[in-house]
C-alpha cells in the first residue's frame, strides 16, 4: 500500500469543514505516524535544552514580563520603531488587512519591475497569501526555506509553523523533486535532496529582484529587524537581492535591545531544542555609501489583521505575547493526531486556535477552540506563559453564547444554537438544585429504556450511553 497523497492539498482552504478534515487525518496512519514521530522528536529535543526547572521557570517569567511590558507600550513603541527605522533609512508601511499588505508589497515590486521575489520563511506572508497575490500580478514568488520550498512545489501549505514539511516523508519529497525539478533523478538520500534544493535556489538568490522576509523581533530603540534561522536563506533573501521587504505583525516589537537575548534563548530552545539558531541576523539599515553589498532599499510592512481586536481585551491581549516557537503544537495531543492542515488556518495547533479567530472572525473558526481536551500542555510549555487553556475556554464562550451587543470579537455567537443552549441551561439548572437533580435522576433511571441509540458524535465511535437502573443514592440506601 502506497502512502496516500496528503488530503486537502488546496490553496485558500476554507476554515469550515474542520471536523471532516480532522476525521480524514485521524484515519490516515501515514500522516499519524509522521506527526507522532516528529512531535516526539521535538519534545525530547526541547526537554534536553531545559535541564534545570528553576532556570526554565524564571526565564519563562522574564519572557512573559518582557512581552507584557512591550505590549502595554505597543502604540508608543510602534511610533518609536517607525521613527528609528525611518532615521536609519528603512521605509515603514502600515496595513490593516491582508489585501492592503499585498498591495503595498506588490506596489514595491512593480516600482522595481520585479520578475522574481525570493522569500525567507515568513508565516505572516502565508497569513496574507502573498504567493497567490504575487502570482496573480505576474510576479514569481519563490519560497527558499527548504521546508517551504517543498511545500510550495507540492502546492500545499505549511503544516507546522517551524517545520513546514513535517507531514511529508523523504520518499514523497524524493518523488516530488524527481517530477518537478528538471534533470533530477529519484533519490531519497536526505543530503542529496538538500543539495538539489540548494543548487536550484542559489541560482534564484543570484537572479532575484526582491527578497522578502519575516521578522522575529523588531527593536524600537535601535530601529533593528531581527531574524532567526538555520539555513542561511533568510540571510540570502535579506542580503543578495537589491531590495528587501520585511513583513511582520504589529505585536512583535520590543523596546530595548537587551530584551532580545532572553526571548531568543526561549525561542530557539522551545522551538527546535537548539541552544541558539545557526544565524541571528540583525538588520538596521539599507546599504550605506561605500558598502559593497546588501539591498539598497529596505522596507518594513506592519500588519494588523485582527491583532488590534485581540489587543483591546485584557485577557485576549495575552494571545499577542506569542513569539511563534511552535512548542504548543509540538506538545498538543490534538495537533499530534490531526496535523496542521486539518485546522485549515495559517497557524495550526493551540496558538492557531487562539489567534485565528481574530484574523478570520469566529464565523469561520467557531469550532476550533472545541478541539482541545484542555489538558493544559500548551500552557505549561509556552515560553512566555500564555494561558492558552483559559483563552480556549474564553473563545468557546465567545463562540457559543447568544450574540450580544458590543462583542469583544468579530463573529461573537457564531456557533450559537438555540437547542444546544437550552439543553445546557437545563443541565445547569438541574445540577445546581438538589431537588431538581433528585427528580431528574429518578426520571432518568425509570425511563432509561427511552435513551436513543444514536447520540450525536458520541456513538460514532462508542457504544451508547444509558442511565443506570439504580441511582447512586438508591444503591447507598440499599446497603445493609
Amino acid at each position: 500500500m502506497n502512502a496516500p497523497q496528503t488530503p486537502h492539498a488546496l490553496h485558500f482552504m476554507p476554515s469550515a469543514g474542520f471536523r471532516a478534515r480532522a476525521k480524514d487525518v485521524v484515519e490516515n496512519p501515514f500522516l499519524r505516524q509522521s506527526f507522532r514521530g516528529a512531535m516526539d522528536f521535538l519534545m525530547s529535543k526541547r526537554a534536553a535544552q531545559f535541564p534545570d526547572p528553576e532556570e526554565l521557570e524564571s526565564l519563562r517569567r522574564l519572557g512573559e514580563r518582557i512581552r507584557q511590558y512591550n505590549l502595554a507600550k505597543l502604540p508608543d513603541l510602534l511610533v518609536q520603531l517607525e521613527n528609528n527605522l525611518t532615521r536609519n533609512g528603512i521605509q515603514v508601511h502600515w496595513a490593516e488587512t491582508p489585501e492592503e499588505a499585498n498591495a503595498i508589497i506588490l506596489g514595491i515590486c512593480q516600482k522595481h519591475s520585479a520578475k522574481l521575489m525570493v522569500k525567507g520563511k515568513s508565516m505572516v506572508s502565508e497569513e496574507i497569501e502573498l504567493n497567490h497575490a504575487a502570482e496573480a500580478a505576474g510576479i514569481g514568488a519563490l519560497e527558499s526555506d527548504m521546508g517551504e520550498y517543498i511545500v510550495q512545489l507540492a502546492q500545499e501549505k505549511p503544516s507546522h509553523i517551524i517545520m513546514p514539511a513535517i507531514h511529508k516523508t523523504k520518499e514523497q519529497i524524493a518523488k516530488l523533486f524527481h517530477e518537478n525539478v528538471p534533470g533530477v533523478d529519484y533519490t531519497d538520500n536526505v543530503d542529496a535532496l538538500i543539495q538539489i534544493g540548494r543548487n536550484v535556489l542559489r541560482q534564484k538568490f543570484l537572479e532575484a529582484d526582491i527578497g522578502l522576509s519575516g521578522v522575529n523581533f523588531a527593536v524600537a530603540e535601535t530601529g533593528t529587524l531581527c531574524l532567526v534561522e538555520n539555513e542561511g536563506n533568510g540571510r540570502m533573501c535579506t542580503t543578495a537581492p537589491p531590495v528587501h521587504i520585511a513583513i511582520t505583525g504589529i505585536e512583535k516589537i520590543v523596546e530595548k535591545l537587551e530584551h532580545v537575548p532572553p526571548l531568543l534563548s526561549l525561542l530557539t530552545r522551545s522551538a527546535t531544542g537548539q541552544n541558539i539558531s545557526t544565524y541571528f541576523n540583525m538588520i538596521s539599515s539599507p546599504r550605506k555609501p561605500g558598502e559593497k553589498d546588501g539591498p539598497g532599499e529596505v522596507h518594513l510592512v506592519l500588519l494588523d489583521n485582527g491583532r488590534s481586536q485581540a489587543y483591546a481585551d485584557e485577557q485576549l491581549r495575552k494571545t499577542l505575547q506569542c513569539i511563534r516557537c511552535g512548542a504548543c503544537m509540538n506538545h498538543c495531543p490534538v495537533y499530534t493526531r490531526i496535523g496542521g492542515h486539518a485546522y485549515g488556518t495559517t497557524y495550526p495547533g493551540p496558538i492557531g486556535k487562539i489567534i485565528s479567530p481574530h484574523m478570520l472572525g469566529l464565523e469561520a473558526t467557531a469550532n476550533m477552540a472545541t478541539a482541545s481536551s484542555l489538558c493544559g500542555a500548551c500552557g505549561e510549555v509556552c515560553p512566555v506563559k500564555i494561558p492558552i487553556p483559559e483563552l480556549l475556554i474564553r473563545l468557546r464562550e465567545e463562540s457559543f453564547t447568544a450574540p450580544h451587543a458590543n462583542p469583544a470579537m468579530r463573529g461573537q455567537g457564531a456557533g450559537h444554537n438555540a437547542r444546544t443552549s437550552a439543553i445546557w441551561r437545563a443541565w445547569s439548572a438541574i445540577y445546581s438544585s438538589p431537588a431538581l437533580y433528585r427528580t431528574a435522576s429518578w426520571l432518568a433511571s425509570r425511563f432509561r429504556w427511552l435513551t436513543p441509540r444514536k447520540q450525536a458524535g458520541w456513538t460514532s465511535v462508542r457504544t451508547p450511553l444509558q442511565p443506570a437502573s439504580k441511582r447512586l443514592r438508591d444503591l447507598i440506601k440499599e446497603r445493609p
Binding site: 535556489l201 541560482q203 537587551e258 530584551h259
Partner: protein
C-alpha cells in the same frame, strides 16, 4: 485617516494605563549565568560550536596564517576570497598566493561580479568581532571593508577569532560593547555551518549558506 492612524488610534484607545517597571534583564543574567575566565570561555565556546559541526583550531597570534594555509591545503581549496582593507585580509593576500592559493579581494560592489561570487568562490575569510561562550556563537559585524556576503555565499567560511573577545553571554556582549547606541547596517550571530532538518527531521549541513565553518582561534598560551 490612514491605515497607520487607524491602527494606532485603536491601540491607543485600548492600551493599559501603565506598563509597569522595565523588565530587569540584567539581574536575571547575574543570577543565572556565571562569569568565566578567558580560558574557560574559550573552552565552552569551542565545545558548543563544535557540537554544531564547526571546526576549531587554536592558533598563536603569529601562527594563524600557517594554519589557514594548512586548512585550505587539506580541503584542496586554491582560491580564497579576502578583505584587502583589513589587516588579516591584506596579510592573507600578500602571503598565500606564493604558496599557490589565489586571494581575490572583495574590493568592488557585488553588482559587478555577482555570478562569480555565487558560482566561482569556494571559500571566504573574515574576522569575527567576538564570540559568545554560552552558545558557541561568533559575532560578526560586516562593513565596507569586509562585506556581508563573504560569510554567506562561499561554501567554506573561515573565521579568525581572538579568544580575548569571547563573552559569557549574548547579553553581556551587547551590554559591554554598548550595541544599543549604534548598530551597523547588519550584525550577525553565527553558530555553525548552515543546516536544515526540514526533511523528516534529518540533519543536513550546507542548506543555503556555508557547508563548512572553520574557526581559527587565537589563544595566548598556544
Amino acid at each position: 485617516m490612514s491605515a497607520r492612524d487607524r491602527i494606532l488610534a485603536k491601540l491607543k484607545a485600548t492600551a493599559p494605563e501603565s506598563a509597569g517597571d522595565l523588565p530587569d534583564v540584567s539581574s536575571w543574567y547575574a543570577d543565572h549565568r556565571t562569569q568565566e575566565s578567558t580560558a574557560d570561555k574559550a573552552k565552552r565556546f569551542r565545545h558548543f560550536i563544535e557540537l554544531a559541526h564547526a571546526e576549531v583550531y587554536s592558533v598563536s597570534r603569529g601562527g594563524w596564517l600557517q594554519k589557514l594555509y594548512e586548512v585550505l591545503s587539506a580541503k584542496q581549496i586554491d582560491k580564497l576570497l579576502v578583505a584587502p582593507g583589513t589587516v588579516h585580509g591584506a596579510r592573507a593576500q600578500s602571503d598565500l598566493p606564493p604558496l599557490g592559493i589565489a586571494c581575490p579581494g572583495y574590493d568592488t560592489p557585488i553588482e559587478n561580479w555577482k555570478p562569480a561570487m555565487f558560482n566561482d568562490t569556494p571559500a571566504g575569510f573574515t574576522a569575527a568581532r567576538g564570540a559568545i561562550a554560552e552558545t558557541g556563537t561568533l559575532i560578526l559585524w560586516p562593513n565596507a571593508d569586509e562585506p556581508r556576503l563573504m560569510s554567506l555565499v562561499p561554501p567554506v567560511h573561515i573565521v579568525l577569532l581572538d579568544a580575548a573577545n569571547i563573552y559569557n553571554t549574548f547579553h553581556e556582549a551587547m551590554q559591554t560593547e554598548g550595541w544599543k547606541d549604534g548598530l551597523p547596517t547588519n550584525s550577525l550571530l553565527i553558530s555553525g555551518p548552515s543546516k536544515t532538518a526540514d526533511i523528516q527531521q534529518t540533519l543536513a549541513y550546507g542548506a543555503h549558506g556555508p557547508k563548512e565553518l572553520v574557526v581559527l582561534m587565537i589563544e595566548e598560551n598556544v
